[in-house]
């Protein structure tokens, strides 16, 4: 197998060779890889230098990444940290499955999420312009987390304590949750703090769950409304990480609020204990509002309730929007999409009242 041409930060001599040969395909591949790296602050200087050597700027690189038609590429981070990203290329779009289950699950999950956004809402990838979907697996050592780093997906292996080993790529709702953080970043750009941060979390849970429901073709009544079902490690006891239907009941350490009476007003003070002002606790409130609206409307949740939330996220919120702003915007969107006197608008309004936001 040839060495992946632009693993990590490409050696300067390799880039020089590309520049000399003037091979357009190779140059595009180099620019795409660099675009994926530009969000990584630690590597900014190296990326800027390599872009100069390729005779391109950041915008050009992002443009190349955007013309990828949602193409998937999976890398192995080899247990490295931030500086090891993306890692060694192990599977590209259209390549057959490999032996490593994490690679195939990351590939399939990115594909399911892409198809959902494209088929249901007409959105072409994370940025709406066909952005390449890059995933890196095997990040860190026994790493109990998966995240969107601003330009790509990153998956740890799990330690067995919070997540079972191999669990972080097992649930498509978790994968879609993280990819939706990318959609939010490129649309409403909700601040990751207090209420805007809890909304940021909630939109990720909403579309995470909808991707799973869409895959299973479930109605709102049939869905389990769980995030991270069946992947909990030994330190957590329960069914899932979170329940949108019954916030606070998914496991023994689940303290999610299901209405404003349980709102946790934690400070956003850079103390890791306070979770950016309780973003993972208070997201239960808008989560339950979505569940209530979707079940009241009935049918497939992605069709009406999901459409209302999608339009709200991508067109009607701003970085500092709070719960009240989200409630008002979803009610207005429901009226615009389905009629001011429609059952959809009524259901959305009743849902926000039920959870105490209105």
């Amino acid at each position: 197998m040839p060495a992946p041409p632009f693993c990590c930060i490409a050696p300067p001599d390799l880039l020089a060779a590309v520049a000399e040969r003037g091979d357009a395909g190779d140059r595009e591949a180099a620019l795409r890889t660099l675009a994926a790296s530009t969000a990584l602050r630690a590597r900014r200087t190296a990326v800027a230098r390599l872009l100069r050597e390729l005779g391109a700027d950041h915008e050009t690189a992002l443009g190349v990444q955007s013309r990828a038609g949602g193409r998937r590429t999976v890398y192995d981070a080899g247990h490295g940290g931030e500086s090891a990203l993306p890692g060694k290329k192990v599977r590209g779009e259209g390549d057959p499955p490999v032996k490593d289950a994490a690679v195939n699950e990351a590939y399939d999950g990115a594909g399911l999420t892409y198809r959902f956004y494209k088929d249901v809402y007409g959105r072409d990838s994370i940025d709406g312009k066909g952005m390449e979907l890059i995933s890196s697996v095997h990040y860190g050592t026994d790493f109990d987390n998966a995240f969107w780093n601003g330009s790509q997906m990153v998956y740890g292996d799990g330690s067995g304590r919070i997540f079972v080993r191999g669990g972080l790529t097992k649930d498509v709702d978790v994968i879609a949750h993280e990819l939706t953080h990318g959609v939010t970043q490129m649309t409403a750009a909700l601040e990751y703090s207090k209420q805007p941060g809890a909304l940021n979390e909630s939109f990720s849970d909403v579309f995470g769950s909808l991707v799973k429901q869409h895959r299973l073709q479930q109605t709102a009544d049939e869905a389990d409304w769980l995030i991270g079902a069946g992947i909990l490690g030994t330190a957590l006891h329960g069914r899932a990480l979170r329940s949108m239907k019954a916030p606070g009941t998914a496991n023994d350490l689940d303290r999610q609020a299901g209405s404003m009476s349980g709102y946790a007003d934690l400070p956003d003070d850079n103390d890791p204990k306070n979770d950016n002002g309780g973003v993972h606790i208070n997201s239960g409130i808008p989560n339950r509002a979505f569940y209530l609206a979707a079940t009241a409307i009935g049918g497939h949740a992605w069709e009406a309730a999901g459409k209302i939330w999608y339009v709200t996220l991508t067109e009607r919120l701003e970085p500092g929007s709070d719960f009240r702003a989200a409630a008002d915007a979803t009610i207005a969107a429901a009226g615009d999409l389905f009629g001011a006197a429609g059952a959809e608008r009524q259901a959305v309004s009743a849902a926000w009242k039920d959870v105490g936001v209105l």
């Binding site: 630690a42 998966a146 304590r161 946790a264 204990k273 606790i281």
Partner: protein, 115 residues
């Protein structure tokens, strides 16, 4: 020497606290702990760093760390987002997460760790 690592955030949003004390570690591990703290230049690191990790621009679902080392008459805490962990501190945190004799607890956000 005593070290504690408080890790919050991540997809789960839970707070994991890991502590170890030289006296509860095997002699070889206690030596390794001291060496890793020295190699990280821990007591010379700024208490805060990576300003982009703070407040509204914090990246979603990333871990955040507060690492405290107490040694004789001095104590120092370093707070960083996971992408901004200095290599030496990342190495210390990774090592601590599996060393025999450590204590680990898990709690919801905003609550003190269980006894």
């Amino acid at each position: 020497m005593r070290v504690s690592v408080v890790r919050g955030g991540g997809l789960a949003g839970l707070v994991q606290t890991t502590t170890a004390d030289s006296e509860s570690l095997a002699p070889g591990d206690a030596e390794t702990l001291r060496r890793k703290v020295d190699e990280a230049g821990f007591f010379d690191l700024p208490a805060e760093g990576g300003p982009a990790e703070r407040g509204p621009s914090a990246p979603p679902d990333r871990f955040a760390y507060a690492v405290t080392v107490e040694d004789a008459d001095r104590a120092h805490t370093v707070r960083r987002g996971e992408p901004d962990l200095p290599d030496g501190v990342r190495d210390l945190v990774d090592w601590l997460s599996s060393v025999p004799g450590r204590r680990e607890s898990l709690a919801p956000p905003g609550e003190p760790p269980p006894p």
